[in-house]
Symmetry: C2
Subunit: 462 residues, 2 copies
């Protein structure tokens, strides 16, 4: 296997193929096939997201994939932001369509004509929906699995509120949701407020969740957007106020994609392969029988016990492979916990545990398996988070002048906020402004022009 530290890109591509996450040989450019193991991980990520937003009273919907050109053109900045990357359906059967239809690049223009029918009065607000669907971008840049592709597995939440304050409270709730999701996925991040020229087309402002991969490049893994009334005015989404007048709703959105999986692979993996957070591992516990009398029955019995407490567990009973081969194979696939059972374990009524990310082996009593295994999975997750935080911190550098931007990773520095200064930094260091760091009140002189500035984050990004 490639060395992760030295050849991150090659390592990343290789592990995706070895662990059978995705097949890149599909004959249409920029579109990959989700293989069973990869799809299962992604589905588990989706479940975590669903659970987190359902708790906050979001409702799941599913909108059509096709959007008429006239629907898209309602919001000028929005269409302008996407027009170069839209796939257009122009024919049905052998006929030319009367109106060209876009494959959704995102769903504002599909949803908001319906919002304008759904929202009537104060009582209909807040409206909070989401969907998990594919979106499409005719990418002209170099594509990369789960990071930059033409068919994107996408989560998008959309809300409408009576007031701007309610919409701002929603922005805070998004952060709360994200804290919960990111802790299950063991992903460290910064909140950055994107510069105006880099915000979502049509948004009032955009806050991104940025992480960093071992290559030193940042990866945007989520965004939340405050739309204010920018869309509602164009799509005519109004509600009757209690005083009898009408007002436009204030809107927000929250977007994430399979980049969550990219981050999991890139941040947690090692030179043996994937390391999966227990919450998204299709197999959380693999039981490897070391051939011997009574071993297989014992292994199956442990499997049954763990199944009853909803652990995703499997006995690897393949006959033509050695235990050593199996150890490596499941380590490569990132299974968090391995249980070895041989004749000694059968005789002593014990189990030998080996954690994917913690060296050494632990012997436990068979009778305590339903306490010890969930405990071990929690320890694995905590260790993954600690390690990831440490690597993240190692990739964050404070710069007080342009020369300090040479480190590979995220650079924090004071910045006046101007595009000129960001461009200057980019031309000299390839790093550009991700945005002001949200939550920091630090002020100081811009590293480029010396004017008064605030703390910002810079990086070369995916």
């Amino acid at each position: 296997m490639e060395n992760k530290k030295e050849n991150f890109s090659e390592w990343y591509n290789e592990i995706i193929t070895l662990a059978e996450l995705s097949d890149k040989r599909y004959p249409v450019k920029g579109m990959n096939v989700w293989l069973p193991y990869g799809w299962k991980i992604m589905s588990l990520i989706d479940s975590i997201v669903r659970k987190a937003v359902d708790k906050k009273n979001f409702q799941e919907v599913n909108f059509p994939i096709l959007i008429g050109r006239s629907m898209l053109e309602v919001e000028f900045e929005h269409i302008r932001g996407f027009e170069n990357e839209i796939y257009w359906v122009t024919k049905g059967g052998k006929e030319n369509l009367e109106e060209e239809l876009a494959l959704r690049p995102t769903s504002e223009s599909a949803m908001y004509p319906m919002f304008s029918l759904w929202v009537r009065s104060h009582a209909d607000l807040p409206l909070k929906i989401y969907q998990i669907v594919s979106v499409y971008r005719y990418e002209t840049k170099h594509t990369r699995s789960f990071i930059r592709i033409r068919e994107i597995h996408f989560f998008e939440a959309h809300t409408a509120h009576a007031t701007y304050e309610d919409a701002e409270a929603q922005m805070d709730q998004y952060k709360e949701i994200w804290r919960e999701i990111s802790s299950q996925l063991c992903l460290p991040y910064f909140y950055d407020q994107r510069p105006d020229w880099d915000k979502f087309p049509g948004a009032k402002y955009t806050i991104a969740f940025d992480t960093v991969l071992p290559s030193g490049r940042s990866l945007q893994i989520g965004t939340i957007h405050q739309y204010g009334t920018n869309f509602s005015k164009n799509y005519d989404i109004k509600y009757l106020k209690e005083d009898g007048s009408f007002d436009y709703v204030h809107q927000t959105t929250y977007g994430m994609s399979e980049r969550l999986l990219a981050a999991i692979i890139g941040i947690h993996g090692d030179d043996k392969g994937l390391v999966l957070p227990p919450d998204v591992a299709p197999i959380q516990v693999i039981i490897i029988p070391i051939p011997g009398s009574g071993v297989l029955e014992y292994a199956r019995d442990v499997e049954n016990t763990l199944s009853t407490i909803n652990i995703r567990v499997k006995v690897d009973d393949r006959e033509n492979y050695t235990p050593g081969y199996k150890f490596n194979d499941w380590e490569m696939r990132g299974v968090p916990l391995r249980i070895e059972v041989g004749e000694r374990e059968v005789k002593n009524r014990t189990l030998t545990l080996s954690m994917r990310n913690i060296p050494g082996k632990v012997t436990i009593e068979r009778s305590k398996v339903i306490y010890e295994v969930p405990d071990a999975l929690i320890r694995i997750r905590e260790k993954m988070m600690d390690d990831a935080q440490k690597v993240f911190r190692d990739h964050v550098f404070r710069a007080s002048k342009l020369e300090d931007f040479t480190n590979e990773g995220l650079i924090t520095a004071f910045w006046c906020g101007s595009k000129e200064c960001s461009d200057r930094i980019e031309s000299e260091t390839e790093k550009s402004a991700l945005g002001f760091m949200v939550g920091s009140n630090e002020t100081g002189k811009c590293v480029v022009c010396g004017k008064e500035g605030r703390l910002a984050v810079f990086s070369k990004s995916y």
Copy 2:
């Protein structure tokens, strides 16, 4: 509400709107928005399907939506069967694409180029995968929610086997899977082998699962197809046999769609609204508090108890609605079981149960709720199945001559198998051959031409 018996079509359309399953006002023709309640029911149907096929070692994948024209044209009959209903993407951004890309109408031509890479030897077989995705048909016929639409929520399983016998055994396994699914959805059906002119384009033969709606028209709710080597020869899917020679794989597929939901609505609903099988009801138990001292706490306590045994339960604590309004509202939405709690129930430590499809009320002890509620849900399901079977039988008529075809429903009759005789029946009765009834060995004289025939099913179909 419309009268189901007298105006089935109007009733069907009305209940979809009233119960908020789907919004038909989306601005692109033939494409509807899945609303939260409808989407949740469909997702529960999907879960049942997933569980049933996962048990048989199918693996879930996800293929790209776009298929190059050259990929589609590999199998001549297949493309010919779909070419008039394919949506074509011809532009990316402002550029014309080099090759036109189809929105998948079904995924043979997306999957089989990959199968030819995946299948190498006997050890790779059987290959058994499925996906749940949207497929697209540029329908020119009149569209109808969940029955005939342009964006179809689709389940498709695809297999490859070493021998024809293995593929035939798979066809039998599909029926076993379908028996399990249909019993959870409480759907009666016939297996019909489609006539050659009506089989899936490219298939060797097609067996359909046909049910009948109260309109008397049949609805195809599932199909399984034996492809033999028709596709593998064109897509070059070969495996190395143990004797060192190569052979083409034998393939099968299994398709279902949101027509499962259409059948549930149409078959089980009544003049009060939906009636949902407990396994697909987003809310299985609705608790209605009749205002009084201690009632709400008591209701919430019951809700908690039922949640712990994974019942989907909700207390309707809306303040501005009367209990009577709530009864009607949840009956309309098809909730299988209602629990009423008032001061009397609190005092006596009892609960009053009312089943959606069984008249009368039942009083149970609060302490037995975790036994009584699951029991009631089973009784509801069994009664739904019995009632549906009865209605199904009432819609099946045996015909011995053409004049007997006037009944509204499914007609069984002897048929020689010729298109001429089916066309003759159609021109006189609007009913045509669904196909020979699978599992029947009865033979007799064709009702049209008098030649030797077998038992077949005829209907006017959706």
